[in-house]
């Protein structure tokens, strides 16, 4: 069985998180406590998820696992998107399909 593509996973993501509400305003990135240099911040992550850019996201696994899950982005998101839950979802995706730590 081939690994599901991010596009297929995107449907799952939209079903399990409210990522579809993102208006790409960048408030999440503005408040994110991570250093602004050399780290992919939430707005970019959400955009790639929306576009189903699987390879782009996998290439930046480091950024996905840098997230503090501090929820400051979620607290300030005007669209009420559960951004940390999207990040946790992506970590699960990487753990299954890239790191092979859990069954696909």
């Amino acid at each position: 069985m081939t690994a599901p593509t991010m596009i297929e996973q995107r449907d799952e993501l939209l079903a399990f998180t409210n990522n579809g509400g993102c208006i790409n305003c960048g408030t999440c990135t503005a408040v994110c406590p991570l250093p602004k240099e050399n780290v992919m911040l939430p707005r970019h992550i959400l955009r790639l998820m929306h576009l189903g850019q699987r390879e782009e996201l996998i290439a930046r696994a480091d950024a996905i696992f840098s997230c503090l899950l501090c929820r400051l982005c979620e607290e300030t998101c005007p669209a009420g998107v559960s951004i940390p839950e999207c990040v946790r979802y992506l970590r699960g995706f990487m753990n299954r399909h890239l790191h092979h730590l859990e069954k696909e």
Binding site: P33, C70, R71, L72, N95
Partner: protein
């Protein structure tokens, strides 16, 4: 170069599956804090530590070791390390823990136990039956590993007839109260943080605190559990004067602790920014999460700043300890 994520997470997941905790603890290390307290075994209401405080000395030792790996060739050997760890518990060999750190963590748990007594609550403790909550693997998206472990934790509560768990840290509180009910069927355990229990009790301070204090809110308590009022109410009841840092309450700023093991350099930069904010508010800082405490205490070395667990001034005031 950051640490390789896959082998580090693999080691944590393997440890949880094979040994019941992300970093296995001996019985002495898990329950030694309760020696001499004569806490009854089990009961409908228990103090549930979730092992986070007990794990901190091992995590501190491991983090210090990993920090040195971050830019070294040994970084590449982490994959081999994971394979070996399946046979031998490598985390116990990774770094020698500081005995003083363990004493501090155990005393913090004893303070919390005394504070719950001061709140007038009768409770027991599950001793060696108590399990790690699984919070770390949940955060890392190891969902099936977490679900498997959560079922074991829930079974311990069911088998012991526990109806209410009084928790001691934000991560354990959050997974038990907000995550378990979504993944464990018929999970009806009532979960309350000791800060909520004490704030809702008529406990009165026996010794007033004469102190200006800045509160470092835990992100998980503040935004995950809306637990913001209680630490302020308790410190004010004890006589302390709250000096809020710029980011506080539901807008609190992370200390960097959650990524300290995987990305130590980034964690340090975030911690320094948070310490600047706290130092601008007061000389005395209190925090309520063992991960925040480890990170902030480490970062505050060399600064004119005192970082304490909130249970310490509260125990001094409410228990006269």
């Amino acid at each position: 170069m950051p640490l390789p994520t896959a082998p580090v997470l693999g080691i944590l997941a393997d440890n949880l599956r094979l040994r019941g905790s992300v970093m296995p603890l001996s019985r002495k290390k898990a329950t030694g804090w309760a020696d001499g307290l004569d806490l009854p075994r089990g009961g409908k209401t228990v103090l549930y530590t979730g092992h986070l405080y007990q794990l901190m000395p091992s995590i501190a030792a491991l983090t210090s070791k990993l920090e040195r790996f971050e830019d070294s060739l040994l970084n590449r050997a982490m994959g081999i390390g994971r394979a070996v760890n399946r046979k031998i518990n490598l985390s116990s060999l990774m770094g020698r823990e500081d005995r003083k750190v363990r004493e501090v963590c155990e005393e913090r748990l004893r303070n919390i136990a005394r504070l719950v007594k001061a709140a007038g609550v009768n409770y027991g403790y599950l001793y060696e039956e108590e399990l790690y909550s699984g919070a770390l693997v949940y955060d890392q998206g190891l969902d099936s590993t977490f679900a498997e472990h959560a079922a074991k934790v829930a079974e311990v509560f069911r088998r012991n007839g526990v109806e209410t768990a009084i928790t001691v840290d934000p991560h354990t509180t959050h997974v038990l109260r907000s995550i378990f009910p979504g993944i464990v069927s018929d999970f009806t355990l009532k979960v309350r943080s000791y800060l909520e229990v004490l704030a809702d009790s008529p406990a009165v301070p026996v010794r007033p605190l004469d102190l200006d204090v800045a509160i470092h809110d835990s992100c998980v308590y503040a935004r995950g559990e809306n637990l913001v009022r209680e630490p302020r109410a308790l410190l004010e009841r004890a006589g302390a004067r709250i000096r809020e840092p710029e980011s506080h309450g539901r807008k609190t700023l992370c200390c960097g602790g959650p990524i300290e093991s995987l990305f130590p350099a980034r964690a340090k930069a975030i911690c320094a920014r948070r310490l600047d904010e706290l130092a601008a508010a007061a000389h005395h800082v209190v925090a309520m999460c063992p991960i925040c405490l480890m990170n902030l205490e480490h970062g505050a070395e060399g600064r004119d700043l005192t970082v304490r667990d909130i249970c310490e001034p509260l125990a001094e005031s409410f228990c006269g300890e």
